[in-house]
């Protein structure tokens, strides 16, 4: 996907690429709105550009805290 807002044709093509070939026209409309939701979410997400190594998530116990 480009950084610019994709056209309806591009989104219909993308739906087919990802295997969503059984969507009705109304569901294609939902798919187009979903692209906006994901785009907005990506903009909102705080980002970390540091090069620090990232160990996996773990939970610490009461005793360890």
């Amino acid at each position: 996907m480009s950084d610019d807002k994709p056209t309806r044709n591009e989104l219909e093509q993308y739906a087919r690429q990802v295997g969503l070939v059984n969507l009705t026209p109304e569901q294609i409309d939902e798919f187009i709105r979903a692209e906006t939701v994901a785009r907005d979410l990506s903009i909102m997400l705080p980002r970390n550009f540091s090069m620090t190594d990232e160990p996996a998530i773990t939970f610490r116990t009461r005793e360890e805290l």
């Binding site: 969507l23 009705t24 979903a34 994901a38 785009r39 990506s42 909102m44 970390n48 610490r60 116990t61």
Partner: protein, 466 residues
């Protein structure tokens, strides 16, 4: 004892009566079914009752207890399962046409544990479709309704579990919580709901929504009952790769230690700055905070990251993982989903890998920050829902209020979070607060909640079913 009295027994009270052979599990089950037969046509909390199983399990419990083989406080106790949790031979539909004919051949681990404890399955409870996406009116079954006023939302996604416990149909039910789905219905139905630490309770045999966020927890009418149920379902499980590999403590041990000396942090910015809660909610929670201080806790304000950071982190992870769960059905059977769920799942097709990675990095930072903040506190308090229950058929109000909540942060960071009632609106709808602990420190959360509960009478109120 008449039916209404049996309906409002706490689990702990019923357990003592059953143990002492003053209450027959069979009569208990029959009384509770009589109540749900009378009222559940208004609430639709059950997707399916399991009468044959319940009577059989109750008879077995009665027989064993009469022979002196009492298993413990769940022996002969009725419960419900959110219909994403497997009980072998009983359909698990996830309240969806997609799984309408799905019959598991094996119990979920939590089900096995409840069965081994002598629990009595009363039925499978309504949920939002696949534990997200409701309330929906285009599914094979209607949505559950709030016993305090059936025109209002139960909260979700463990909607039937909340409605049935609040209505006195069962003393306890299990739900799941990925972004607040135990705590939301518990909040809006006036119950106690616990989201345990991630990994504390097995999810094996539970239909997944988001692998790294999903938890299973109990909904009950009292704090003690909640701790009793968690005692039965918690613990390591080789069937769940995220299961914590150490034996849990007895969650009832600290219940009576009181509030004295506890260091309580109030995460006030969640409901005054990051979002502005409804005045009824703010007032009820602030009154609770004042009471908690009066009970001997050291109360001060606590600052963590704003709600937005948690919300975007949770949504990015949840949408990515949920799309992975549902990709095949979205390709093959998109029209078999309700519109609400389909619309919530489809953004997952657009989440970029880099965003998922960034959300995971953010998650780790939020966990570290919360751990550091909690060095000065034993528990934290904040709101659960920003608003009282909304009208279930008002789509605009549902859309406005659904994301206005402070539950998601504790799914992101994985720590235990419990909700309990702190009052009612003028029209009699429940209000709730949230008590949060360090990872794997459910005992202190229960201790604080129990001390507050003992000093108030909110959990003793009953919804006006007619």
């Amino acid at each position: 004892m008449i039916t209404a009295d049996l309906a409002w027994l706490t689990l702990a009270q019923a357990a003592v009566l059953i143990r002492d052979r003053e209450l027959s599990p069979v009569e208990y089950v029959e009384a509770l079914y009589a109540r749900s037969d009378a009222y559940d046509n208004q609430l639709q909390s059950y997707l399916r009752t399991t009468r044959d199983i319940a009577i059989s399990e109750a008879k077995q419990a009665e027989q064993e207890i009469s022979e002196g083989s009492y298993r413990g406080p769940l022996h002969g106790i009725p419960y419900g399962l959110k219909d994403i949790i497997d009980y072998a031979g009983v359909p698990t539909t996830a309240h969806s046409k997609i799984l309408e004919h799905n019959v598991p051949d094996r119990d979920a681990t939590v089900t096995t544990r409840l069965r081994e404890a002598g629990g009595v399955l009363m039925g499978k409870m309504a949920t939002h479709e696949f534990a997200i996406g409701g309330p929906s009116f285009d599914l094979p079954w209607p949505p559950a309704r709030n016993p305090w006023d059936r025109n209002y939302f139960t909260g979700g996604s463990s909607s039937g579990s909340g409605a049935a416990v609040a209505a006195g149909f069962i003393p306890a039910a299990l739900g799941s919580d990925t972004g607040g789905s135990v705590r939301n219905p518990a909040s809006l139905c006036g119950l106690v709901g616990m989201k345990p630490t991630y990994g504390r309770v097995s999810r094996a045999g539970v239909v997944p929504l988001s692998f790294t966020l999903d938890t299973v927890g109990p909904l009950t009418r009292t704090v003690e009952d909640n701790a009793i149920v968690l005692n039965m379902i918690a613990g390591p499980d080789p069937r769940d790769s995220a299961s914590a590999q150490f034996t849990p403590p007895d969650f009832t041990t600290d219940l009576w230690k009181g509030m004295q000396g506890l260091r309580v942090g109030v995460i006030r910015h969640f409901y005054t700055r990051d979002m502005e809660a409804h005045p009824d909610v703010t007032q009820a929670v602030e009154e609770a905070v004042t009471l908690i201080g009066g009970l001997g806790a050291q109360v001060s304000e606590m600052q963590i990251e704003p709600l937005d950071a948690y919300a975007s982190c949770n949504r990015t992870i949840l949408l990515s993982e949920a799309y992975a769960v549902h990709e095949r059905w979205l390709k093959e059977r998109p029209s078999d989903y309700g519109a609400s769920l389909r619309q919530r799942l489809l953004p997952g097709a657009f989440i970029r890998a880099v965003d998922y990675v960034q959300a995971t990095r953010l998650r780790r930072r939020l966990m570290q920050q919360f751990d550091e903040a909690m060095r000065d506190f034993d528990v934290a308090i904040t709101v659960s829902s920003m608003d009282p229950p909304g009208r279930i058929e008002d789509a605009t109000e549902m859309a406005r209020t659904y994301p206005r909540q402070a539950r998601v942060p504790f799914n992101v960071i994985g720590c235990p979070a419990l909700v309990l009632p702190v009052g009612f609106t003028e029209s009699g709808l429940p209000l709730s607060m949230q008590i949060v602990g360090r990872a794997f420190d459910e005992p202190t959360v229960y201790r604080a909640a129990h001390a507050y509960e003992q000093a108030t009478d909110w959990t003793a109120r009953r919804p006006p079913l007619h």
